[in-house]
Symmetry: C2
Subunit: 215 residues, 2 copies
DNA sequence: TAGATTGTTAATCGATTAACAATC
DNA sequence: TAGATTGTTAATCGATTAACAATC
């Protein structure tokens, strides 16, 4: 159903996981599921599942449950995965390469349109049918194609400058793998950070807690 | 100070970010900081900063603030970053390569000891002075060295089998980049997931919200 | 001492869970 | 109809913010 304003970010953060479970259930040929069954699978409470889905207008049926297909389609539409936001990627190290090669951009609302790196040895190399080009061409490309999103797979030291240029080009959405804190510099920008080393540290805390390695 | 039991996960999740800011402040030569200043930098409230630090025993000084050096050391010790948990990595695609080559394991509480892949073309290749070896050797290695942590950079389809073997080898801590849901299979396991595509979908939601692409 | 800033308690806010009437 | 399960309101729980006495 239609999207309410002000869905809490706790709910939003659960949506991709719901979506993955719907893909799995569809693949298994499951057609209907109750909030209770889904909650068990996902280790949530049935209450929470129902509350979550009701943020978007309630598409279950009393006494029956939810249609897996409908849930799939609704969540897809809520997340906007049927969009094609023009996207560029900057930085073709191992990480940039992994991201460019393996993320399903087309199925996640994006269209990867260009890849840049400052290293001339990489220019012309094709990744997924896209030729890596000089980072000098960023402005030209943006003026012509107006991409909405930039993926930053460059080292922290390089982000300040590149971000300034991308911002000047009108890009306001960033998927950022560096530790550079973009949202501090720009107020009207939306940044989704992937801080892999934070995740590693959180695991370290949990290990230390369990193993009893206090100080 | 010493670690209380039952620190809430909201607090834990903020610790790595505090830690990064401490590294930054140290690098800038800043020696003291008040909760108010730090809160401004990090876009938190001063109250929250003080509450967070007080979970671990309060190491500030009234009228003065916090010593950057001390905060750095305390957080490091709370997170257990001075540990050396034996770690193996499985899967040397672009992502595994990026992880193996660029994560600072030694500064984050880990010691990367072995790298495995099933692709024989990669055997013998050195990444960070570690030779990639056949995934068949996992059991041998674990029997000899008893690593605590496994990093899973393999495709979802491969995780079920590998996890079964790793679990049998006694490994209970996993850093998982796949979408395979390990914690559903094993109760006594701690898994830290890095779901990059979830992050991409959340960004997509935010773009769609802002750009007004409502169904 | 006076000023500043913590540590800590109390108040508020938000998210999760429980309960149950509505209804398929 | 009877049984099941939703949608939704109310209760609980937890996290954040505000306030202020303690104290450097």
């Amino acid at each position: 159903m239609s999207r309410k304003e002000n869905i809490s970010s706790s709910v939003i953060k659960r949506l991709p996981r719901y979506y993955r479970f719907m893909l799995e259930l569809k693949a298994q040929g499951v057609e209907r599921i109750s909030s209770k069954e889904l909650a068990n699978m996902m280790r949530l409470t049935a209450s929470q599942v129902r509350q979550d889905f009701n943020c978007f207008g309630g598409f279950g049926q009393q006494g029956y449950g939810y249609s897996v297909n409908q849930l799939h389609d609704e969540i897809e539409s809520i997340l906007g995965l049927d969009s094609k936001y023009g996207t560029i990627l900057i930085g073709v190290g191992n990480l940039g390469r992994a991201v460019a090669a393996h993320m399903s951009f087309e199925e996640r609302g994006y269209s990867l349109e260009a890849i840049f790196d400052q290293n001339s040895k990489l220019w012309g190399e094709k990744i997924r049918d896209i030729q890596v080009q000089s980072a000098e061409h960023i402005e030209d490309f943006c003026n012509k194609h107006h991409p909405k999103v930039a993926i930053l797979c460059i080292p922290k030291e390089a982000v300040g400058d590149i971000a300034k240029r991308l911002y000047a080009c009108g890009i306001r959405y960033y998927w950022n793998f560096s530790h550079y804190d973009l949202s501090v510099d720009y107020d009207d920008v939306i940044v989704e950070n992937v801080h892999m080393s934070d995740s590693l540290m959180i695991l370290c805390y949990q290990i230390s807690e369990k193993e009893g390695n206090l100080d």
